[in-house]
Amino acid sequence: MKLSLTVNGADRSAQDVWPGTSLLTALREEFGLTGAKNACEQGECGSCTVYLDGDPVCSCLVAAAQAEGRQVRTVEGLGGPEAVQRAFLACGAVQCGFCTPGLVVAVHDLVHRIEDPDEATIREALAGNLCRCTGYEKIIEAVRCAAAELRAELSEHSAPPGLPEPSESSGPVRR
């Protein structure tokens, strides 16, 4: 079947896609976006995490045809290296790197939803992302680091007291 969707802001389409193909396979094999990784194909590891209409999902568990006409954003589309990716580098949160793209998307979602997540919130938000190498401590540190950087960016951009609130479009754009 034919498949058309928006990936990282661009219209993409593919011909002759088998109807049971996962979004993950379509992204990797039809569109050459190999950021999202295939490790388990059963929703356990989160290495295939992408945004689907703004929500982080396991792309291995979405039929590509279900994403017809919808918005997909992959790790390649976050614009990089942005705050989360810089934090992963700075904190040494990457070893073999296989889990990293999925984690970056999950963390990107978290720090853009919650300004200052505590440890329990971070662990809960990342419960669907497995890492065989790091033991998670550095990853959690990277989340804190990224959140702090985003808070700093926000306060830099916010108007000094007494001035009118900036209009929605002039503030820093989150997500």
Partner: protein, 284 residues
């Protein structure tokens, strides 16, 4: 394999009638695992993800009516006050990525004995709305599960919604697993009190060929509970636990032994009862 993508509910029912072998796919968190591992090669997939009406919930006639495609993430974010036990169960499902896709209708469709919504739906006396081109059928959830991963749907039927009575007293859900996240229940338990009717509802997960209730435990507690003070004696609580454990018919499997499951059920029953009776303010 065909991919059927009906735009609305009527089209979906017509498609299911025309292709009774088509496998509905909603969040895909169960169906895609089977496709990825070639455990299933259906003649067609029937995508329910485009049907707006299935994603809504509403309150009507003393019920909260959840469209089949309401996700667990949505239950947590929008319904924690109205359906506290279901929201508690929803929080234990998979991971954030799974909860963003996994739906209540898909949980029922799979009808796994371990499905986390099921004990709560049983304890609260929920009703499944099934529909086909022939008409609508309401199935009490206790009659919906017919065996291991089997449900009462006819080949041309789809789940339209599930109706859960509005919360009429404290209710709780507990689940035992090998860790705190991303875990299939070793066993699970839900209990709901109806303060007006003075009745008790229970639901047991992962300790039988299908989700079960514990009618003897329900009757016993309804009689033993001090409904005005919402208090229960230690002995009565223990007895309630024992009756819940006795209602289960667990097996030994990779996740746990039958004996462990019975023991854990008794503990969860006593514990959830404490949570309900030791609270000052009753969350209604």
């Amino acid at each position: 394999m065909e991919f059927l993508a009906p735009a609305d509910w009527t089209e979906a029912l017509e498609a299911k009638a025309a292709h009774p072998g088509a496998v509905p796919i909603c969040g895909g968190t169960d169906v895609m695992v089977e496709l990825n591992f070639e455990l299933r090669r259906p003649p067609a997939l029937l995508d329910l993800g485009r049907i707006r009406a299935l994603k809504d919930w509403e309150v009507c006639d003393g019920h909260v009516r959840l469209g089949a495609a309401v996700t667990f993430a949505r239950i947590i974010s929008a319904l924690a006050d109205r359906l506290p036990a279901l929201a508690t169960a929803a929080r234990t499902v998979g991971s954030p990525q799974i909860r963003n896709r996994a739906t209540i209708g898909g949980n029922l469709g799979t009808a796994s004995p371990a499905g986390d919504a099921h004990p709560v739906l049983l304890a609260t006396g929920a009703v499944v709305e099934a529909e086909s081109v022939r008409g609508v059928r309401t199935i009490p959830v206790g009659d919906f599960f017919t065996g291991v991963k089997r449900n009462a749907l006819e080949p041309d039927e789809l789940i339209r919604a599930v109706r859960i009575p509005e919360t009429a007293g404290p209710q709780q859900f507990a689940k035992v697993g090998s860790r705190n996240a991303m875990v299939i229940a070793v066993c699970s338990f839900a209990v709901a009190l109806d303060l007006e009717r003075r009745t008790v509802g229970t639901g047991i997960g992962s300790a039988g060929p299908r989700p079960l209730t514990a009618p003897a435990a329900e009757d016993f507690l309804a009689g033993a509970l001090d409904w005005d003070g919402l208090a229960v004696s230690e002995d009565a609580a223990e007895r309630f636990g024992a009756l819940v454990a006795a209602a289960a018919s667990p097996i030994d499997d990779v996740r746990g032994t039958a004996a462990y499951r019975r023991r854990a059920l008794a503990v969860m029953a006593v514990r959830t009862l404490r949570w309900m009776t030791e609270k000052e303010a009753v969350a209604v």
